[in-house]
């Protein structure tokens, strides 16, 4: 019997994968061909979705962008034997986009059935947890520090130090919270983990629990990700039935329970303290720090709060050792980052590589240039609060410190490409508009400054390009950066000022006006 794979992640579903899977099963039955259809995760080669794969003696052969109407002709062409067809893209593992990657966190995605524990274990899963169970908690924290893993949600705080703080805290209850409120436009790596390899996140959270002494975990997923929520809930049920969760994790003396909580469409809940408020059932308003969540987090208890990618990277670090992971990367940015090529890019998808790659390599060697075929003009790195980088900055290595040196942020590794028809003044005004929509309202510079920002950029776009207006915008941005509690107000000026500095012509200015020397 031939094994066929049709992805079940939401990107494939958004392009008709369910109807396609049905069509394949029906056509096979009609022709009397024996097939076993597996709903795998996505390989992350999203521009090829729906990517159907056929298992052959020579490996898994792919057929890209398949529509239900192609099914009969695929059978006619002998795709069951991996034969050629207009949709044929050859062995999937040999596609350069995939072959050139360094997949550590994403080692399994697209290869396995996301809800098969057997598949997960057969592809290296659960090894990290077994190693962690055999280690002393202090040694485990040291190993994580040694690996160099930093928070992948954007803040890049060393994960091991956070864990050590929670481990050392004395309390009757501690929590592990996973931040899966992936609201940044241009990012989808959290979603890919949850939909294509949910067990790796579950394993990472269990490890966090046994190392720090936390017995309860919560995954806070945004409501815009219903497929992620459904996949996680199904996976947690299987993990519980298999004894990975519950009173005795893998038969050990450790207890760990895990729950999924659903967000409700508030961008600012991606900020960790707002997320904790929301998880407690309240309005997602940012808390002042200190106290740090590590000491006083969920319900006032010591809490590890990490992003999906951070927690999903923990298992491979414990399975293969801190040294293995640390050998990837550059400077103080160790390991790999799953870059997400998004927006106006020909080959959009997930590219996991060691830190140090450049935007130009990602954009052209992987992305294949723009989707529109026009020249690329600006790339926004790190989500809606990240800067717009002009071509002159595309050769800077992607590394937390190298980016910080030019006032940019790597963030969550999302790259949104804009071509030469883009208007950066419009995008800057949009950034302020988005901040006005999503501000939690706690800090005045964010709550009111964002609306004033929309207005002042509107005046500039309407032709008032006087020094006074430009200075007003810069002063406003300065107030927001210095006077906001969290990144929402504090970083909205990043895209605005980078647009103004690098693309002054879009604001109707001849050259970049510099702020008056203080």
């Amino acid at each position: 019997m031939t094994r066929l794979f049709v992805p079940r992640d939401s990107s494939a579903l958004a392009l008709g994968a369910d109807a396609l899977a049905d069509a394949i099963v029906e056509e096979a039955a009609r022709r009397g061909v024996q097939v076993e259809l597996i709903r795998n995760g996505s390989r992350g080669l999203l521009w090829l979705e729906p990517l159907v794969e056929v298992e052959t003696p020579a490996g898994r052969v792919g057929y890209a962008n398949v529509e239900s109407t192609d099914v009969a002709s695929l059978f006619d062409a002998g795709f069951i034997e991996g034969k050629t067809h207009a949709r044929h893209v050859g062995p999937v593992d040999d596609i350069p986009y995939l072959k050139k990657q360094q997949r550590l966190t994403f080692a399994r995605i697209g290869i396995t059935d996301p809800l098969s524990l057997d598949d997960y274990v057969a592809h290296g899963g659960i090894e990290g947890l077994k190693q962690a169970l055999a280690m002393d908690g202090t040694a485990a924290c040291d190993a994580l520090i040694e690996s160099g893993l930093r928070g992948r949600g954007g803040a890049a705080f060393p994960a091991g130090i956070k864990w050590r703080t929670v481990r050392a805290a004395q309390a009757d209850q501690k929590y592990i919270v996973c931040n899966a409120d992936e609201g940044d436009s241009g990012t989808f790596s959290d979603r890919l983990v949850m939909e294509s390899d949910p067990f790796v996140l579950i394993e990472g959270m269990i490890i966090a629990g046994i190392v720090t002494g936390a017995t309860v975990g919560h995954i806070y997923v945004r409501s815009e990700y219903p497929h992620s929520i459904a996949t996680l809930e199904a996976a947690i049920g299987k993990a519980r039935a298999a004894g990975w969760l519950g009173d005795s994790v893998l038969g050990s003396a450790h207890r760990f329970e895990l729950f999924v909580a659903k967000g409700a469409g508030a961008y600012v809940c991606g900020e960790e303290t707002a997320l904790l408020e929301s998880l407690e059932g309240k309005r997602g308003i940012v808390r002042a720090k200190p106290p740090l969540p590590a000491l006083s987090g969920l319900f006032g208890k010591p809490t590890v709060i990490n992003n999906v990618i951070t927690l999903a990277t923990v298992p491979i670090i414990f399975a293969k050792g801190a040294g293995f992971y640390k050998d990837f990367g550059m400077g103080r940015s160790r390991g790999t980052l799953p870059f997400q090529l998004a927006g106006n890019v020909k080959h959009g998808g997930l590219v996991e590589l060691a830190f140090g790659v450049t935007l130009r390599e990602l954009l052209y060697d992987f992305g294949g240039g723009t989707a529109s075929g026009r020249p690329a003009r600006a790339v926004q790195v790190g989500g809606p609060l990240g800067t717009y980088l002009p071509e002159s900055q595309w050769d800077i290595p992607l590394d937390y410190e190298a980016y910080a040196a030019v006032g940019a942020v790597v963030g969550h590794g999302g790259l949104v490409v804009h071509d030469d028809t883009s208007n950066l003044a419009e995008l800057a005004q949009y950034a302020m508009h988005f901040c006005a929509l999503e501000s939690c309202g706690k800090c005045t510079p964010c709550r009111i400054g964002s609306t004033r920002g929309v207005e002042v950029i509107g005046r500039i776009r309407n032709g008032d390009t006087s020094t006074k207006q430009i200075q007003l915008l810069r002063d406003l941005c300065d107030t927001m950066v210095s006077g906001s509690l969290c990144a929402m107000g504090g970083m909205t000026p990043y895209p605005v000022l980078s647009a103004l500095d690098h693309f002054p012509e879009d604001f109707g200015l001849d050259t970049a006006p510099k702020a008056a020397a203080a």
Binding site: T187, P226, R283, G343, G348, A371
Partner: protein, 167 residues
């Protein structure tokens, strides 16, 4: 269920306000069942959760996800964030407004109107523009694709309503 009575609202709250459940989780359960959170539910929710009505109202109105009135029979959520903007979602939005005669983010007053809502990221940023129609996700949406999807969604809604009436 356009108008909810106080008794219906109380029963709705009682079905979902289990002890230990957060207010946010209760609100999700109510909206999943009723399609929206009726204003009549605020008082029984406050009672069940030992919060003030102001606090309950505050939570409901803080989050974009919660509705206080039923959604239009056909509701479109179009992503207006950066990645989709780079692929022409603003031009698509104009097409959608012209095609439906409705405006984004305005109450859908008249009969047969399509509910148009702006959302900010559906996680399909490599396959922009993205949208949902009645909760079903679609990527790489073009004006032509939108027109076909809207027609199919409208037909499906009419069929469902017809079945309810005959049942």
């Amino acid at each position: 269920m356009d108008k909810t009575t106080a008794t219906e609202a109380t029963q709705l709250v009682q079905r979902h306000a289990q002890p230990g459940r957060s207010l946010l989780a209760i609100l999700h359960a109510i909206q999943d069942e009723a399609g929206f959170v009726p204003p009549e539910a605020v008082a029984p929710l406050a009672q069940a959760t030992n919060l003030s009505r102001a606090e309950v109202h505050g939570v409901i109105t803080y989050y974009h996800h919660f509705r206080t009135q039923p959604a239009a029979p056909v509701t479109v959520q179009l992503c207006r964030a950066e990645a989709c903007r780079s692929m022409g979602t603003e031009a698509l939005a104009q097409h959608i407004e012209a095609h439906t005669g409705c405006r984004f983010d305005e109450p859908h007053g008249r009969a047969g109107a399509v509910g148009l809502e702006s959302v900010y990221c559906l996680g399909q940023c490599a396959l922009s523009p993205a949208m949902t129609i009645n909760g079903t996700l679609h990527a790489r949406v073009t004006p032509q694709k939108f027109d076909a999807l809207l027609e199919a969604a409208t037909a499906a809604t009419v069929a469902t309503n017809g079945m309810e009436e005959t049942a």
